[in-house]
């Protein structure tokens, strides 16, 4: 999942969206021959803590480290797994044995050969104990056999379809066994100067200033990458980021890097493009968590009233500048197979909201106020604060008085996920290609009150939902699994512990000189193997 801090200035203009991103679309463009060479100047913000996604799943780590590592598979723009370090794979009929055939003659950046032993070691020592998103997925693999250097066989307790949504270089990063074996993986010094197999080699990291990657001349995909160098510059100020983009010093700025007004202005320049492609693997969505143990929100009618009181289309237009789509279910409509459109809907209807509140016995007092709540908005900057203000205004209309509470991130997560001292909070989350990876944790009762950020903030406990998750995890039949997930969405939208608001779209800012920057669905955390500059980067 993306770093939670980085979208402070997440900004969007529907008019700016080049839906296809920088994919080569026109026939004229497709004929263009990629050009070798040049330094790609990129912005990374905030500065990563580690460059190894296996030990820290934050977005900046994924963006920089994604260029240094490969995965067993990569995801195409339709989120289908495609060969990367695994050239092909076989799944046994019972779904309990998966055999990966690994690419031969791949070496780590220090020259050591990459073998099946690296994969097997990473599974046992990294993915199982440390995977932050879904370690259960890997613990379901009892053992990995390595019949030869280029074959690794996973033996699963139960079949797992979701596993194939998390096998890229970010979700299941393979670490070099020869450098990590016998060390504490979390504190291994190579986390800060990684050795991978990817198209770019780590060169230097000057903290607070920049991270420099250089072309891997021995990359297995001969002739690639096209770029000689990538410089990720740390630029903490949004206005400075906009200025440097405008000046043309930067070719690539991921993670919604600049404020809205600047995006609008810069998108009009012939030298700059704004695109939203490359985030498909994440599927981010924005929601409100009701504290279902709080005085007023323990009543589902009150939660439904809030849903009716908020005009999501207006929210998207006013706060998110059209950069998103109204969410009607916790499973985004972009996850077409899993999304259930036949759930209880909560169209904008203040009268219905007021009726529900009256029914719940919460009448308006002489000041027209039914009750007062505190709303802790996600402290990632402007857009989330404005979302909070929008919610406050919307609820005021139906007689709910909202006090907005701002704080820093550490205070926010402690309050919501630890102390549970809140009424209503906002957050965003990634669903990933399979809702088991990103959605289940928000509704699973296992996580309530365990002070684990971004896990079941509402405090929702529903035995049927827990059972559905458990069954869906091991269901070998794709259709039955999808049916279970559709059933979950009906319950989630009936009980409504969490109110889905917006299917978010994040954007990148590119220089018009940069080509082929998005060629895969997990591009944001993947390598810029195919990217090239149509003229050499001019150094100042």
């Amino acid at each position: 999942m993306i770093s939670r801090r980085s979208f402070g200035s997440a900004v969007a203009l529907s008019t700016l969206i080049l839906a296809a991103g920088l994919r080569q679309s026109g026939p004229g463009q497709a004929a263009e021959e990629p050009r070798r060479g040049g330094t790609l100047n990129a912005i990374i913000q905030p500065e990563p803590v580690s460059l190894t996604a296996a030990v820290l799943a934050a977005a900046p780590t994924g963006i920089v480290g994604g260029n240094i590592f490969d995965g067993l598979v990569r995801y195409d723009l339709d989120l289908k797994p495609q060969p990367e370090l695994a050239t092909h794979w076989d799944i046994s009929p019972d779904g309990r044995t998966i055999t990966f055939h690994l690419r031969e003659a791949v070496t780590w950046h220090d020259g050591q050969p990459f073998t099946s032993a690296d994969v097997a070691w990473s599974l046992e020592n990294v993915w199982k104990p440390l995977n932050p998103r879904n370690p259960a997925l890997f613990r379901n693999i009892t053992r990995a056999d390595t019949p030869d250097q280029h074959t690794v066989v996973f033996h699963l307790v139960e079949p797992s379809i979701a596993l194939f949504g998390l096998l890229n270089g970010n979700g299941a990063q393979i670490l070099p066994r020869h450098l990590y074996e016998g060390t504490n993986v979390l504190t291994n010094p190579y986390n800060l100067k990684p050795i991978g197999t990817g198209p770019f080699v780590f060169k230097e990291w000057v903290k607070g200033s920049h991270i420099l990657l250089e072309r891997n001349p021995h990359y297995w995909d001969a002739g690639k990458p096209y770029l000689d160098r990538i410089v990720f510059r740390v630029m903490p100020d949004g206005a400075a980021r906009a200025a440097t983009l405008e000046k043309g010093e930067i070719h690539y700025a991921p993670l919604s890097p600049i404020p809205l007004r600047d995006a609008e202005r810069l998108a009009k320049l012939p030298t700059i493009r704004v695109g939203t492609a490359g985030y498909e693997w994440l599927t981010p969505w924005l929601y409100l968590d009701f504290n279902v143990q709080s005085e007023h929100f323990k009543d589902a009618r009150v939660r439904r009233a809030v849903a009716h009181a908020i005009d999501r289309d207006a929210l998207i237009k006013v706060v998110w500048f059209g950069f998103g789509k109204a969410a009607i279910s916790p499973v985004s409509s972009s996850l077409k197979a899993f999304h259930n459109p036949d759930v209880p809907l909560y169209p904008f209807d203040p009268k219905r909201a007021e009726a529900l509140l009256d029914e719940a016995g919460l009448k308006r007092d002489s000041d027209g106020v039914r009750f007062t709540i505190a709303h802790d908005y996600l402290p990632y900057g402007e857009d989330y604060r404005r979302t909070g203000e929008f919610v406050k205004a919307a609820l005021k209309r139906v007689g709910i008085d909202v006090t907005l509470r701002g704080q820093d991130t550490a205070a926010f997560t402690r309050r919501v996920y630890g102390e549970r001292d809140f009424d209503l909070s906002s957050s965003w989350s990634s669903a990933f290609p399979d809702p088991q990876l990103g959605v289940a944790r928000l509704y699973n009762s296992e996580f309530v009150g365990r002070n684990v950020p971004w896990s079941n903030g509402s405090g929702f406990r529903n035995p049927e939902v827990d059972a559905i998750f458990k069954a869906a995890e091991t269901e070998p039949d794709a259709a039955r699994r999808i049916a279970a997930w559709k059933r979950f969405q009906v319950i989630a939208q009936t009980e409504l512990p969490t109110l889905p608001l917006v299917e978010l779209k994040f954007f990148n800012v590119y220089s018009a000189k940069l080509r082929n920057a998005v060629t895969r669905g997990d591009q944001i955390f993947g390598p810029l193997t195919e990217a090239w500059l149509d003229e050499p980067a001019k150094s100042q």
Binding site: M1, I2, S3, R5, T39, N41, P46, E47, V49, S50, L56, A57, A58, A59, P129, L130, N131, P132, R133, P135, L186, T187, N191, L192, V206, K207, G208, S209, H210, L212, V231, R233, V234, M235, P236, D237, A239, A240, A243, T244, E246, K247, E249, D408, T409, A410, A411, T413, R414, R415, G418, S429, R441, R450, V452, P453, W454, S455, S539, Q540
Partner: protein, 333 residues
């Protein structure tokens, strides 16, 4: 001669020993207060890391807490910290995976260059302007200088920074937007120094303009005050040239408050200049400390604070010493 004066003459070492004792006492006191004060902030470093990752498991967070030593009782953590303080060990940042002293050392040159350049600029230009304004007090020159100084003083530093970037980097394309070097160029030697100098101009001027205003106003005010004193009238009466009076008699005596100000600024070097460093992507200490606060990287923050407090105390002693040099009437006591 008083008894204490006698002792001082007899054993100047004793005075310094006493100052050193005060220094140690203050630094340890600050360290203890910091430790408990910072723990009032809700949340810890493990929660912040898990929060940034966007997903975590209780097992992962427990592993982090154990690694960071956050799973130990507070008195154990405090004991370890106090032990470090007494050995002048700044501690270890688990988040960054480096000793705090190394982190500070890596950032110190950037901050020292920025602060050094901006303070020098502000001191020289500010004193000169203040001098000019005081000599022309009440006349148009004075008014213009005072208005400009007030303007710089009242304008937010980050706003000046952004405006300078837009004008000199984006429109005129004379200077780079931010950073400290042209990374991809790989300069060495003189070329490298020139490159850093080019990057330094805007942040140093931005930071300097604010301080320039302070020095201008301070110089003007204290010079005017001294102009009103008897010994100046005496000097005028005995026919000393006005320029000589202004420099030798007035300015020299007016330097005391400026030295105080300078001391305060030098003492705050380790705190860096958060806003300017942020706007200009300058890899300095201010940002390091500021980010450490939000990241609940308390070891790093405590280390920076401790180094800062030592510096402040040392600079204070140096300022006292400078008083004595500038004005023999001031006794170090």
């Amino acid at each position: 001669m008083t008894a204490s004066g006698f002792i001082q003459r007899l054993a100047p070492g004793m005075h310094w020993a006493r100052r050193l004792g005060q220094l140690a006492f203050i630094v340890v006191g600050i360290a203890i207060v910091n430790f408990f004060l910072l723990r009032l902030a809700p949340g810890d470093a493990a929660e912040v890391l898990a929060g940034e990752a966007g997903a975590a498991t209780p097992e992962f967070m427990a592993a982090l807490r154990q690694q960071f030593g956050l799973d130990q009782p507070l008195y154990v953590q405090f004991g370890k910290y106090l032990g470090n303080v007494l050995r002048l060990n700044l501690g270890y940042s688990f988040r960054q995976g480096m000793p705090v002293s190394q982190l500070i050392g890596d950032r110190l040159p950037a901050t020292a260059i920025l602060m050094g350049a901006s303070i020098t600029f502000a001191l020289v230009a500010g004193t000169a302007l203040g001098f000019l304004a005081a000599r022309r007090a009440g006349r148009p020159t004075d008014t213009i200088i005072s208005v400009i100084a007030l303007l710089f003083y009242a304008t937010p530093v980050f706003w000046i920074g952004v405006v300078l970037i837009v004008v000199f980097s984006v429109w005129l394309d004379w200077l780079p937007v931010g950073g400290m070097t042209t990374i991809e160029a790989g300069y060495h030697g003189t070329a490298y120094a020139l490159d850093v100098a080019r990057h330094l101009v805007l942040p140093a001027v931005t930071l300097g303009l604010f301080n320039l205003a302070i020095y201008t106003r301070l110089t003007r005010a204290s010079m005017l005050q001294i102009y009103g004193q008897d010994f100046i009238r005496t000097a005028v009466a005995k026919g000393v040239a006005p320029g000589r009076i202004a420099v030798r008699h007035v300015l020299r005596n007016a330097l005391l408050p400026i030295v105080t100000m300078l001391g305060m600024q030098v003492g705050s070097i380790l705190g860096g200049a958060i806003l300017v460093e942020t706007v200009f992507s300058w890899p300095g200490l201010g940002r390091l400390a500021f980010e450490a606060l939000f990241q609940r990287d308390l070891n790093l923050l405590l280390g920076i604070l401790m180094a800062s407090s030592i510096l402040v105390v040392v600079v204070n002693i140096a300022v006292d010493f400078a008083y004595g040099l500038l004005d023999p009437r001031v006794e170090i006591g």
